[in-house]
């Protein structure tokens, strides 16, 4: 029982990341009809927004003193930029909170990146075959990755969460199990809550604003919306910006969970496509549901009891589930007819 609760918690957390990425991807799929292989790269750039802010705050500025290094050369003694600006206390606190602060910093950046991508490139590919879209967005993803690699190298970069969120909470003790049986890190709880808020905000935005209504109508029937004389172009751009922002936010908050590296987007790309398709093309609730479902199943599959029964099941569970769902439900969990079927 405790093991199951534990894996549900883990699954919710994994699912949060899957759902957030899949949400943005399905917005682009569903509204714009574009197969965006660069979506993983947007997630990665989000994470690097956090890295960049942390790096900036801790930029080493010379204090004027000089010390000798172990490998023989002399280097100036330095201290972090924010500490020299705001003093060790305020500066230190700001540095500690750099990841949450990066949210503010990343939203405008991601939206601008989304706008530029859509206006400069994706726009010209709406009417092109999916194959061309794959090629151009894949090319773009490689270019974005390589740019990040040129600045930050290939190794992961530690981006810690604020000290207040370090450590874990003992659910076991709270629920009456033995202590230490069900523990869960604070930051992962924050991530889950954050994901829930972002997902809720996106749904509310699409549900309760005129803009959202038009977009939902556009997802259902693009031609009619076009016929109504609504400037769908501008809205597509905004949608792309929104999707980029969601992917970016997912990345920013993910940075403390796993140190970001330049290819983290590619690691998530295939998985997020699977999630979107299992959820059903063009369905936002489907993408979110599939994200959580696959996250939880993946966690269950990594339980020792199950692994000893079916060795290697955790290696393939996601794909296996995807196959089963697609064979039993032709359009995924909540897919709409006719979207991306040809």
């Amino acid at each position: 029982m405790d093991a199951i609760i534990l894996q549900i918690l883990n699954g919710l957390d994994k699912g949060s990341a899957y759902a957030l990425i899949a949400l943005g991807l399905t917005l682009i799929f569903g509204t714009l009809g574009v197969v965006n292989f660069a979506h993983g790269a947007l997630f990665m750039i989000g994470a690097f927004c956090a890295v960049t802010l942390t790096k900036f705050m801790t930029w080493e500025v010379a204090t004027g003193e000089v010390q000798k290094t172990a490998w023989g050369s002399e280097v100036p003694v330095t201290k972090p930029l924010f500490e020299s600006w705001f003093g060790p206390e305020v500066g230190g606190a700001l540095i500690d909170w750099s990841v949450p602060l990066a949210i503010l910093f990343s939203i405008p950046i991601m939206i601008i990146i989304g706008f530029v991508m859509e206006r400069g490139l994706i726009k010209h590919f709406y009417k092109r075959p999916h194959a061309d879209q794959i090629l151009v967005t894949f090319g773009l993803a490689i270019v974005l990755q390589e740019i990040i690699k040129a600045f930050y190298g290939a190794n992961p970069i530690p981006t810690p969460a604020p000290a207040a969120f370090k450590g874990s909470f003992d659910f076991g003790a709270m629920l009456g199990f033995d202590p230490n049986v069900i523990i869960y890190p604070y930051w992962r709880m924050v991530y889950f809550a954050f994901a829930a808020v972002v997902i809720g905000a996106v749904f509310a935005f699409l549900q309760f604003t005129t803009f959202g209504m038009v977009v939902r109508a556009g997802m259902a029937d693009r031609e009619t919306v076009g016929l109504l004389g609504i400037n769908i172009d501008k809205r597509f751009t905004i949608m792309f910006g929104l999707a980029a922002a969601v992917a970016g936010l997912a990345g920013v908050m993910y940075a403390p969970i796993n140190s970001p590296n330049y290819h983290m987007g590619m690691d998530f790309l295939v998985l997020s496509f699977v999630v979107v398709v299992v959820g059903g093309m063009g369905s936002l609730p489907g993408a979110v549901a599939a994200g959580f479902l696959l996250g939880i199943l993946e966690s269950f599959a990594s339980m020792n009891q199950i692994k000893s029964l079916l060795p290697g099941i955790d290696q393939i569970i996601i794909y296996l589930v995807a196959i089963i769902i697609l064979l039993t439900r032709p359009r995924g969990l909540m897919g709409k007819k006719g979207v991306m079927e040809d």
Partner: protein, 401 residues
Amino acid sequence: MLGLNKKDTTLLIIVAALTLLAPFILNPFPTESGLAQFNAGYPDLMQRFVIFGIFAIGFNILFGLTGYLSFGHAAFLGVGSYSAVWMFKLLSMNVIPAIILAVIISGLFAVLIGYVSLRRSGIYFSILTLAFAQMSFNLAYSVLTPITNGETGLQLTLEDPRVLGQSATADGSIPVTNLFGAEMRSTYEMAVGPWAFQFNMGYYLCAIIMLVSFYLAIRIFRSPFGMMLRAIKSNQTRMSYTGLNPRPYTLAAFVISGMYAGLAGGLMASMDPLAGAERMQWTASGEVVLMTILGGAGTLIGPVLGAGFIKYFENIFSKINDNILHGWFAFMPDGLEDFVVTILHPFIGKGWHLTLGILFMLVVIFLPGGLVEGGQRIARLFRGKKSDDKSDEATQSTPAE
């Protein structure tokens, strides 16, 4: 000739000439010159060109004709390689049984995956194939290690039985792959002036198999079957209301292209008897998709061009380093030399991915029909304005060209 019309015969002859003369064509620069870096006429890369050409030709039979985008084709390549290496381990070092087994096993594997995946179309089909291939890869890397030798890749050892051959040669090494005694690695070298050309047995075997595959692909493209496949891509509803069952057609195309992939895998193992699990990863499946689209999906020669393009960058550009750049630009004044090297630095060596990514974007933006369209535009340029209309018509009436 050979049941082909004049245009296709010309194409086949051109391709045959290019492949057979590849050792000359790919080594245009004298060995001692700085530009020798761009020479691609060495056995391993030439083999790779034609082997990936076969892979892409086969993929195009599925994707180019039926429009079904498989994202798991590398699985068949991997299965073909494993089968071939097992044949070398158990039977003999002759490549023929290995290649035959590779084609058969990958064909069976394709029947299995195709039968299930083809129940869905569009992106759902793509994801099903992707899921199967990723499962194969993940299992091959871990749980199936006794069969696949996991991370390292399946390789030959001195202890292999090789019932029809020998476990080890007289001098205690592992025997090499051969075709009835002719070693795949044997290379004839020819020096002409400052040039050096290498003629490799393995390459010519691959090249001939590639030409046969290419010829078969032309026949399939031009056959009633090929027309049916194009009809499926065009309108499946009409297809079934015309009394035709699309499923066996798509399955046949899927299996044929799976067998092409298996053939490529078997050849790869024959040239270099090691089968790595990475061959089955989604990136490898993605690579053949990119090759086909880059060259021009649905065209006969496009996939081969795309395969050559990507493999060239992977093998040639990744080997250029700053040192070599300095060598090229040594004639410049020091400051300028360093400046030029600094500018080029991000695009070479470890930056070959970046160059490739940029080229993907440029090609797809400016040449919507892939490299083949680039070729057509150049041809049109040469032919001049007077024949402009004609060539337009030609491309229009034969969309499969």
